[in-house]
């Protein structure tokens, strides 16, 4: 029997009436680590880059290339959001590798918030690049009869974005737990390696899908 429900949150400590769950604290730690590394790397940024700055530049260039291929236009306005999403998701999904940590994306709340961020940023970028009327007219394409379906697809694709990330990470945690319960010492290691791959692929897929949604919201003016 699996002891604790994977849907339940483990409360670490209370600050007044506010409970702080493990996922939130892990998220804060990841945010602090990312901010610290970026700040340290770019504190004395220059043409003759140091080690950390070079690594950061390689990462940013790689993500910019990926996003640019999908969006098909100048990707720099969308890069801060998508790049941060990607790096945060990789760190969050791989938190399980560090002993004692749990990935915050394995609980409902963090993927829900990330999917909601993608949902709102799609509309924000769409309205900013095409104007309110032009953006709303997108929902009546190719036929006004499809308006309900287009609106429905906004909801379902956001929901599936959330459920995909949550389901993969949480189910993998469950699988590891079951295998540890069954087979003890060295057997879970290949599954943990598989978990690293799943974490990276899910971060990639989440980012690519967010980029695809943003590209669809921003670009369809040229298609018409």
């Amino acid at each position: 029997m699996v002891a604790a429900s994977p849907l339940a949150n483990e409360v670490l400590f209370h600050l007044g009436p506010v409970p702080f769950v493990r996922a939130v604290v892990t998220t804060w730690a990841i945010m602090a680590a990312l901010t610290l590394v970026s700040w340290l790397g770019l504190r004395r940024a220059g043409v003759h880059a140091g080690t950390v700055q070079t690594v950061l530049e390689i990462v940013v260039e790689a993500i910019a290339k990926l996003v640019g291929e999908i969006i098909g236009r100048d990707s720099w306005p969308y890069l801060p959001f998508l790049g941060t999403l990607f790096i945060f998701l990789i760190c969050a999904n791989l938190a399980a590798v560090v002993p004692g940590l749990q990935p915050p994306t394995g609980h409902v709340e963090t993927p829900a918030v990330l999917a909601a961020l993608v949902f709102f940023s799609v509309h924000y970028f769409g309205i900013r690049s095409r104007g309110l009327l032009g953006y709303v007219r997108r929902y009546t394409q190719p036929n006004p009869l499809l308006l309900p379906l287009n609106v429905l697809s906004e909801v379902t694709r956001t929901f599936s974005l959330m459920v995909r990330l949550l389901g993969n990470i949480m189910s993998h945690e469950l699988v590891i737990g079951i295998i540890v319960l069954l087979a003890g010492l060295l057997v879970p290691i290949p599954f943990m390696l598989l978990g690293i791959m799943i974490g990276i692929i899910q971060a990639y897929i989440f980012t690519v899908l967010a980029a695809v949604f943003i590209a669809a919201a921003v670009n369809s003016a040229e298609v018409e």
């Binding site: 994977p6 849907l7 995909r164 899908l209 695809v212």
Partner: protein, 80 residues
């Protein structure tokens, strides 16, 4: 048969049968992508990206079944 037993059976059925369709379709998608890459190795980059996105879409169906199963097991609305 209590509600708990029925929920466990329901969860098992949901995951096992819900995994069949996505498994078949993912296999077909990967086979098609392999064929395309074998014919045109230079287009491997865009192909694999599209493949990943498509696989994610297909996989969502299996994940939905998993979520239903987990809801039945851990957050069942009919069990007090």
């Amino acid at each position: 048969m209590t509600i708990e037993m029925l929920s466990i059976i329901g969860a098992v059925v949901a995951v096992s049968f819900g995994a069949i369709g996505p498994a078949f379709s993912e296999g077909r998608a990967i086979a098609a992508a392999m064929e395309a890459i074998a014919r045109q190795p230079e287009s491997a980059g865009p192909l694999s990206r599209t493949l990943f996105v498509g696989l994610a879409m297909i996989e969502t169906m299996a994940i939905y079944c998993l979520v239903i199963a987990l809801l039945l097991l851990f957050a069942n609305p009919f069990v007090g």
